[in-house]
């Protein structure tokens, strides 16, 4: 069996390296075939460790399958295929190879059966994703990629310190459920949360991702944050802290997206919002909640990629990214409009879309546990998702005003990728049983009950009413909203500049004092040893004889008295 010895993640990484050398049809063939082969391997593999051994004295299981890891590996392979199809006409020679290394290492991370392997793939993801942003080659994207890398290396250091502490304390590298009972486990949690886009460092995500190319951000939206959801699901299910972290992320995403003008930054904030739903579910920790978090990660990857494909198509066709410059594009981009709107309905968890069958499980779990405040917050957030992404994105990009732009639809491969993911959004919303069968716990949950559908429609449609009634307050302006990244983009450079100024000022005054001191010493030396000074003067012979006589007399006195 090929699935016993072939690693689907490494296969995609190898394909990425090969893509760097290929062109034309061969490039397209490898880009499309590698994710499909990986998908087949993941589905065909039996449960359990396929690879195991020992390395540097550690027991490692670099390739291990169970229901949870298989679910994430499946969606990552599907995402790599859809993203690859969409990016086939990308001119950059670096982006697609980097994206495949990134996607492959994400698959490797979720199939890692031990913490050592997990860490290796975790860092490889950071490198691949940084290169995706870097490949754009402009000044702003280069600087954004360095900030992105700095944050992820920080997360990697936290994670490594935690893993080292965990292995030292337990002697085991196994990746299993952990309690927050030691500094090492707190460090591991912190490392995971950095990648999830959790507070206080959420700002890396809307800062960096929108600087990627029209196709690059489609890849970036899927892997880093969802790998973090996976490791939280495996490592920290039922950790109550995560409920509050998740709810904070949910509302942070909504509020910042409401104020945002850049269409892809709106969608970036909404990634934080959606991951917040998953993190909340992980914090609730019941089988229903964990199933919901896992299912929501699965559906979210598809509809967020679809939304970013439609935004990418607009960027590709118009080279514009601000809502203030866009509007009225439905006239000449009907397919992109329809696909973007399907993605928007799915992220809003409209009935008959994939978001409905996944997010409902998290709310249901909060209800089952009688967590009234959590449940109310999730209901408000559900309405808020429709507000900030479900209507706001399609409205300002495709409708709103007539911007006068008449861009054409994107090329065929981009249209096909959008159609594929739009079909998945609706297909999973109607035929949800195959998805439920992949979930970590068996479930008999039925999302489509009369009361549930009606309440959901009420929440969403009246959210829509609020949007149009309050539209004047939502008018876009040429502004950004400050975030925690201000501390390292503005405050830290300003402090460095202030230190620099202080050093220069102190240095200048010390220099002046030194010069002054040197002048005084020079003057004193000059006064004694200068041409006409005491020690350099030409003395008369008589004077010398007198002084010699006086010295000898003094000598006699000292000897004989």
């Amino acid at each position: 069996m090929a699935s016993a010895f072939l690693h689907p993640g490494l296969l995609v990484v190898a394909a990425g390296l090969a893509l760097a050398l290929l062109g034309g049809r061969a490039r397209a063939a490898v880009a499309l075939a590698a994710p499909l082969a990986a998908l087949w391997l993941v589905l065909a593999a039996p449960a359990g460790a396929a690879w195991s051994g020992s390395w540097l004295g550690f027991e490692v299981r670099p390739l291990a399958y169970d229901a949870l890891s298989r679910l994430f590996a499946v969606i990552f392979a599907v995402m790599a295929f859809g993203g690859g199809l969409y990016a086939l006409n990308q001119k950059s020679r670096l982006e697609l190879p980097a994206a495949y290394v990134y996607a492959g290492s994400a698959i490797g991370a979720v199939l890692a059966g031990d913490l050592v392997t997990l860490f290796v793939f975790w860092e490889l993801m950071a490198v691949g994703s940084t290169l995706v942003i870097w490949s754009v080659g402009t000044g702003p994207s280069y600087r954004a990629s360095l900030r992105y890398l700095a944050i992820h290396l920080l997360g990697g250091v936290l994670l490594f310190a935690g893993i080292a502490g965990h292995v030292a304390a337990t002697g085991s590298t196994e990746f299993a459920r952990m309690a927050l009972d030691s500094p090492a486990h707190w460090l591991i949690l912190a490392g995971f949360l950095v990648n999830a886009g959790a507070p206080p460092l959420s700002a890396w995500l809307p800062d960096a991702y929108p600087e990627a190319s029209w196709s690059g951000m489609v890849f970036l939206s899927a892997f880093t944050t969802k790998t973090a959801v996976y490791v939280l699901l495996r490592g920290f299910p039922g950790t109550e802290l995560l409920v509050w972290v998740g709810l904070f992320m949910v509302f942070y995403g909504i509020v910042y997206a409401l104020l945002e003008n850049d269409m892809r930054r709106i969608l970036a904030y909404s990634i934080v919002n959606q991951v917040g739903f998953m993190v909340t579910g992980i914090g609730i920790g019941t089988e229903m909640a964990l199933n919901g978090a896992a299912a929501h990660a699965f559906t979210h990857i598809i509809y967020k990629a679809l939304l970013l494909m439609s935004a990418g198509s607009v960027l590709y066709a118009t080279h514009k990214r601000k809502c203030t410059d866009l509007g009225g594009l439905f006239r000449t981009m009907p397919l992109t409009t329809v696909c973007g709107t399907i993605g928007a309905l799915a992220i809003s968890s409209f009935p008959l879309t994939s978001g409905f069958v996944s997010k409902s499980m998290i709310s249901q779990a909060a209800g089952d546990e009688h967590l009234l405040w959590v449940w109310l917050a999730l209901a408000a957030a559900t309405a808020g998702v429709f507000l900030h992404a479900g209507i706001k994105f399609p409205w300002f990009v495709f409708f709103q005003k007539d911007s006068g732009l008449r861009p054409p639809e994107p090329p065929l491969n981009m249209r096909l990728a959008m159609l594929l993911f739009a079909a998945l959004c609706i297909g999973l919303g109607i035929f949800y049983q195959p998805l439920y069968a992949l979930l970590p716990f068996g479930t008999s949950y039925v999302p489509y009950t009369g009361a549930h559908v009606v309440v959901q429609l009420e929440l969403l449609l009246f959210s829509g009413l609020a949007f149009f009634v309050m539209l004047p307050m939502l008018r876009r302006t040429l502004t950004i909203t400050l975030d925690v990244d201000w501390f390292y983009r503005r405050l830290a450079p300003a402090l460095l500049a202030a230190c620099d100024w202080a050093f220069r000022a102190v240095g200048a005054s010390l220099g002046a004092a030194r010069d002054d001191g040197m002048r005084r010493i020079n003057a004193a030396v000059h006064a004694l040893h200068g041409p006409q000074a005491l020690f350099a003067r030409t003395w008369t012979t008589g004077g010398m004889a007198l002084w010699a006589a006086l010295l000898l007399a003094g000598y006699l006195l000292v000897v004989y008295v």
Binding site: G328, G367, A451, L457, E458, A466, M473, I480
Partner: protein
């Protein structure tokens, strides 16, 4: 040349009427389905409708309030980072 049919004022008026009719029908549909509320507040008539509307209005107002302190021109970071 006339604008796209979707952008004409009469279409937009019609869409508003349909939208309001759908809103009314959604709330009316509550009386046709069986409820299994987890919480007492869920049983209040039109819960999803008023809660959804008020939650959104609240979030918009909160966002506008936050913007008073944190809003900056979108060229804010461009200065000073240009040489970096």
């Amino acid at each position: 040349m006339r604008d796209h049919w979707l952008a004409r004022p009469e279409t937009i008026r019609l869409l508003w009427r349909v939208f309001i009719a759908v809103l009314v029908l959604t709330v009316a549909a509550e009386f046709l389905v069986a409820h299994h509320p987890h919480f007492r507040i869920e049983s209040v008539a039109g819960f999803g409708a008023w809660y959804g509307f008020l939650a959104c209005a609240g979030m918009i107002l909160f966002a506008k309030g936050l913007a008073l302190f944190l809003k900056r021109p979108d060229t804010y970071y461009e200065k000073g980072e240009r040489d970096g």
